[in-house]
């Protein structure tokens, strides 16, 4: 686990592949109580809202970003701030990746800034973000 003494700028978070399925998308929308039809009703999503397929929820991608941070952080660290933008939509069937890297270290406050991303199979960042964490010594 990273500590304030061991962490270096450019340290990478482990990249993880995400391939949501019809079932995982259904469960996510059920658990956040989101009945928006673009996530489960394909004729509606494509014909009415003109999407190329079922839409992978933006906040689900945000959750994957938070997982990348929390798995890197370990039990001694603390998440202080998490932000991301959903810049480009993703659709069921796409394979996405989460990851990030350390971009700033403030040893006085004990905080570290991470740039984080969701990328699609074309290697385009579709959801860039940033997290601020506090590390132990």
């Amino acid at each position: 686990m990273p500590t304030l003494n061991s962490v270096t700028i450019g340290s990478l978070l482990n990249e993880r592949s995400h391939e949501p399925s019809a079932v995982s998308l259904f469960l996510y929308n059920a658990v956040i109580w989101n009945p928006h039809r673009i996530h489960f009703d394909e004729p509606y999503a494509t014909q009415i809202e003109k999407h190329p397929g079922l839409v992978v929820d933006g906040p689900l991608q945000g959750d994957w970003l938070s997982q990348a941070v929390m798995e890197w952080l370990g039990d001694e660290g603390e998440l202080m701030q998490l932000e991301y933008s959903n810049r480009r939509a993703a659709y069921l069937g796409e394979r996405l990746r989460s990851g990030g890297e350390v971009v700033a270290i403030d040893r006085n406050t004990g905080t570290v800034t991470l740039d984080i991303y969701i990328k699609n199979d074309d290697d385009k960042v579709i959801a860039p973000g940033q997290a601020i964490v506090r590390l132990g010594d």
Binding site: H18, S24, L27, Y28, A30, V31, I32, W33, N34, P35, H36, R37, I38, D41, Y44, I48, E49, V55, D57, G58, P59, L60, G62, D63, W64, S66, Q67, V69, M70, E71, E78, L79, M80, Q81, L82, E83, Y84, S85, N86, A89, A127, G129
Partner: protein, 151 residues
């Protein structure tokens, strides 16, 4: 710019809706952890809620007949906009302490901004909400700023 945003729409900036009281249960955390494929034990066991657990938690629970044609809940904190199709825009969360089973939270949402942008496929309206999450005693738990995009 601001062609779509009438004074009537802009009057909504600054309004809040009724605070929602939320009792956090371990089973709900475990369901969330399964749906999002969490790998850390504390989340899978429901000992602590993952950081994005409270997304959408303020949403009023209404009958199916009260849902919009697109499935979404009619939002009492949303003016009638000329663009109807909704997309998620992003989030900025500030955390003060983790959420755990047994917590009783109070969620207060305010519409903090409405603005227009030109997207690649036409105009977009951004609606920004800030949700303050506190314990029943008023201790801060987190604050979420969330952008919804209408196109």
């Amino acid at each position: 710019m601001n062609e779509l945003l009438t004074p009537e729409i802009r009057q909504w900036i600054g309004r809040s809706d009724t605070p929602q009281r939320l009792e956090v249960g371990r089973r709900d955390i475990v369901k969330y952890a399964i749906a999002t494929q969490q790998r850390l034990k504390k989340y899978r066991d429901g000992d602590e809620a993952p950081p994005m657990f409270l997304f959408n938690a303020h949403q009023p629970l209404v009958q199916i007949a009260a849902l919009r044609p697109d499935g979404l809940t009619v939002d009492s904190l949303l003016p009638d906009l000329p663009l109807k199709r909704v997309m998620a825009g992003g989030v900025k969360n500030t955390y003060y302490r983790p959420v755990r089973p047994g917590d009783v939270l109070v969620l207060t949402r305010t519409l903090t901004d409405i603005y227009e942008k030109q997207g690649s496929t036409g105009p977009l309206i951004f609606v920004v909400y800030t949700m303050r999450v506190e314990t029943e005693n008023g201790a801060p738990v987190m604050e979420e700023t969330r952008r919804r995009i209408f196109r």
